[in-house]
């Protein structure tokens, strides 16, 4: 016994197997009842596949009949002619269908409609086939009765194809199929149906036998149904569907029906094959006979067949000729014909069919969104690398420096030009001079050197004028400072003037040294001078060796408080230092005057302390002109007078340069305005 091939996985299986041992598919058609379902060992013999359609064509051409394919589409509501010919008269309806009703896929374009059976009888070609089968059965001595006839109960009980409405079962029947649709390319060419599996008649249960002839599904159109005339061989089994040959055969073609094909006859599919229905036994190869492996035909139940959504899921697509087919222009299939056009369906962007949401955006939100968008764009924008700026030659600075240096150096080197000393002196100069002139000579004067060495060029000159008057008066001098470099500065000034007035260090002049802390130091010194400064600076050697401090010198012997000084003179260039001394020290000075020797730039900020009903500053000496005037009052030419000429030329040059700058700026402004 030859193997049988599984219709699903095409693997060989034993001939008596019911199910495929590889994939589990049924090898024998599923039958709801009857002898066919019981004899699982018998399998359907598939005749060799032949192009039955081509044969039909050939025969019809020979006979002058129109080809079924070229036949016009049947009119809606009518069955195609070939189907009408197939359907025997009075053929019982299929299982699951209403009696006399044609399944939807057989009905033509009328969903739910059934067509009236052709009462004119089976078509000619079917009669011929049946006649041939009968002859064969007679030759073989068979009854010619197949199991299906037994099921039906009467050989002639064939359902009629009815015309009319067909009420489809819910969920089962779809739109009525278009019979004989040659435009359905996806439909594989129908192959000759294989003969249904032979079923021994004795295996048909009684209920099936009874149901075969009397069963008629209820329906509203039952009244219209007509029982098929007796005698006509059943076209379709009452319950199960006719066997449908598996599409894949061993040889790739359907098996030829046994017995060959008599001339003029058409190879029909098995389900149409009346001979196979009537005499399935001879059509089916006996079990154990050595036959070639054949595909087990797959049988679809009627309800499943009725469910086939032929019209819905088998869209009619007309196959264009090759010349008419468009050439694909995009995608990987570019240049090919006959391919599904991807771009219109896939590549084209589709707009949402559902209405898009409309956002309510306020102006402010829109502006903020724009700002954010701009910020993001700025982040993405590449910043051009700034070119390294070439070092520019500062011509203006060179020019100004050259002019100033020339103007300053000219009188320094050559002695000319010479300017007359100021004949006008500041208003406060006279009171200051008088103040110093009336100081008690027995009490020392305190000189505070609170300026940076950078200002020594000016303040040395300004301060020396006042110090000289003090020295001329013979008033002892004590110096102190709240800056680290104040002591050496004080020493320089005093050392320059002391020999001129016979001031002996330690006797007439003493340096108390440095006190750290800024305003805190001034406050402490104002409160407790002896507890604040504990050492001295540049004390005589013997005093240092003796371990004496500045307070032990004759200059400070009688001094215990700030008010014990005859004068406190603060020599400073900073407004902050002057303000600190005016704020912190004046409260503890009593009647001791506080005098400020200032740089020219600090005068405006100290003058309010001077020009008050209760002034905290009793005298001001500020700038080179005041110092020059002071020296002139003293009748001496000091550092201020020595620097007067060069100062004059430098100031004159600066005035010219500044005036030129103002004029240049105004001209630029005016020209810009003219251009506008």
């Amino acid at each position: 016994m030859s193997e049988q091939r599984c219709p699903m996985c095409s693997r060989p299986n034993p001939p008596d197997a019911r199910e495929c041992r590889h994939c589990g598919a049924r090898l024998t058609p599923l039958d709801l009842g009857g002898p066919a379902s019981g004899s699982g060992s018998q399998r359907q013999q598939t005749p060799p596949e032949q192009d039955w359609l081509a044969r039909i064509r050939a025969e019809s051409e020979a006979a002058g009949e129109p080809e079924p394919e070229s036949a016009a589409e049947p009119v809606a509501g009518e069955l195609p002619s070939w189907l009408e010919e197939i359907k025997p008269e009075g053929s019982p309806p299929e299982a699951g269908e209403e009696a006399g009703r044609v399944p939807a896929f057989k009905a033509d374009g009328e969903p739910g409609g059934t067509k009236a059976a052709d009462e004119s009888g089976p078509p000619e070609w079917l009669r011929r086939i049946r006649a041939r089968e009968e002859e064969r059965a007679q030759d073989s001595g068979e009854d010619g009765q197949d199991w299906l006839s037994g099921l039906r109960g009467s050989p002639g009980a064939e359902p009629e194809l009815e015309e009319g409405s067909y009420s489809p079962r819910p969920g089962r029947d779809m739109a009525a199929p278009k019979p004989a649709a040659p435009e359905s390319p996806d439909r594989p060419p129908e192959r000759p149906r294989e003969r249904p599996a032979a079923v021994s008649q004795e295996a048909i249960p009684s209920w099936l036998r009874q149901a075969g002839g009397q069963d008629a599904p209820p329906g509203p159109d039952r009244s219209a149904e007509q029982l098929p005339p007796s005698g006509s061989p059943p076209a379709t089994p009452p319950f199960g569907l006719p066997h449908v040959q598996a599409l894949i055969g061993e040889e790739g073609a359907g098996e030829a029906p046994p017995g060959g094909k008599p001339e003029g006859e058409v190879d029909l599919p098995d389900w149409m094959d009346a001979a196979s229905l009537e005499g399935p036994a001879e059509a089916l190869p006996a079990a154990g006979e050595g036959e070639d492996s054949r595909l087990a035909p797959a049988t679809l139940p009627s309800w499943l067949e009725a469910m086939r959504p032929v019209e819905t899921f088998r869209p009619v697509v007309q196959i264009q000729t090759e010349d008419d087919q468009a050439v694909e222009s995009a995608g990987p299939l570019a240049g090919l014909r006959g391919v599904l056009i991807a771009e219109p369906l896939v590549a084209m962007p589709r707009t949402a069919t559902v209405g898009s949401m409309q956002l309510a955006v306020s102006e402010r939100q829109y502006a903020q969104a724009e700002l954010l968008h701009r910020m993001v764009e700025d982040e993405e924008r590449e910043v051009q690398a700034s070119r390294r700026a070439r070092p520019q030659l500062n011509f203006i600075r060179w020019a100004v420096a050259g002019v100033l240096l020339f103007a300053t150096a000219l009188p320094v080197l050559s002695g000319s030009p010479r300017f007359s000393l100021p004949s006008l002196e500041p208003r406060e100069l006279g009171s200051l001079f008088t103040l110093i002139d009336t100081l008690p000579a027995e009490r020392p004067a305190l000189l505070v050197f609170d300026y940076e060495p950078g200002y020594s060029g000016e303040l040395d000159a300004v301060g020396e004028a006042l110090i000289e008057q003090i020295m001329v008066r013979g008033i002892p001098i004590a110096t102190m400072t709240t800056r680290p470099t104040g002591s050496p500065l004080a020493m320089r000034v005093i050392d320059r003037l002391a020999p001129l007035h016979d001031y002996v260090p330690g006797e007439e002049v003493v340096h108390m040294g440095y006190l750290s802390g800024g305003a805190t130091a001034v406050q402490l010194f104002s409160l407790r001078p002896r507890e604040a400064i504990l050492q001295g600076f540049d004390l005589p050697q013997d005093m240092q060796e003796a371990g004496t401090t500045a307070w032990d010198t004759p200059v400070l012997r009688g001094v215990a408080a700030l008010s014990d000084f005859s004068l406190v003179t603060v020599i400073t260039a900073g407004t902050e230092t002057a303000r600190v001394w005016a704020e912190q020290a004046k409260n503890y000075m009593g009647q001791t005057p506080l005098v400020m020797v200032l740089s020219a730039g600090a005068e405006p900020m100290v003058r309010p302390y001077y020009e008050a009903r209760e002034p905290r500053v009793n005298g001001i000496l500020t700038g080179l002109p005041a110092a020059t005037a002071y020296e002139r009052r003293m009748g001496r030419e000091g550092l201020a007078a020595q620097r007067w000429n060069a100062f004059g030329t430098a100031m004159l040059a600066s005035e010219v340069i500044l005036a030129a700058g103002v004029a240049y700026g105004l001209v630029q402004w005016w020209m810009a305005r003219q251009e506008r």
Binding site: A521, G665, Q668
Partner: protein, 211 residues
């Protein structure tokens, strides 16, 4: 109970500052003594802070020399000058001849020369001022400066003329009246600001000492 250090520092600042401030207005001996004590300690701490700053300066430049960063040679010169001066000053005293020699011939010339450079910078800045910023107040500023300079500088013409007297009187009037009015307002504003800042420090609102 865990005490936050920051609160402790604020309490120390408040306590010390409170007694010192009270001493300005209250003539109570205990308060005055306490005030003096705190002032003593502050002076000592100011001196110690100067030493701490010196050490920090050396460490920064020492690191620069150690890592051979750009300009390490200058840092090495700085450290060398510092060490020499400090050593001489510590050993011989700041009033010894060598230390004063260094001060007179290195520190003093540099600082005065820098001040001389300032003169050129000020003139250049004044020259460019109107070109860069043209408004009424710039013109007032420069006009005032020019007028004061003319009134301050030696008179280019010989003899004391009436014009010179007028100019000098006007210069005095501007600097001693107009500028004094603005200066007094500035002084009052500075004093108000210093009072507010000082009170904020005492109350712990501002902690410039850290923590």
């Amino acid at each position: 109970m865990r005490v936050r250090l920051s609160a402790l520092w604020a309490a120390v600042a408040l306590a010390a500052g409170l007694f010192v401030l009270l001493g300005y207005f209250v003539q109570f001996k205990a308060i005055q003594d306490l005030r003096l004590t705190f002032l003593h300690w502050a002076v000592l701490l100011a001196g110690a802070a100067l030493i701490v700053g010196l050490v920090n300066l050396v460490s920064v430049h020492w690191r620069k020399v150690g890592l051979l960063e750009e300009g390490w040679i200058y840092s090495a010169v700085l450290i060398l000058a510092l060490v020499i001066t400090l050593g001489l000053g510590l050993f011989f005293g700041p009033d010894n001849a060598v230390a004063l020699y260094i001060f007179s011939n290195f520190q003093l010339p540099v600082e005065t020369s820098l001040m001389a450079l300032l003169a050129v910078s000020l003139v250049v800045a004044g020259f460019r001022l109107v070109s860069r910023r043209r408004d009424l107040y710039t013109l007032i500023f420069l006009a005032t400066a020019l007028f004061v300079m003319v009134g301050t500088a030696p008179w280019p013409l010989p003899g004391l003329g009436t014009f010179e007297v007028v100019v000098r009187d006007l210069r005095a009037w501007i600097s001693q009246v107009w500028a004094a009015g603005g200066a007094r307002g500035i002084l009052l504003g500075v004093a108000l600001g210093a009072t507010a800042t000082g009170l904020r420090v005492l109350l712990g609102t501002e902690r410039p000492y850290g923590g």
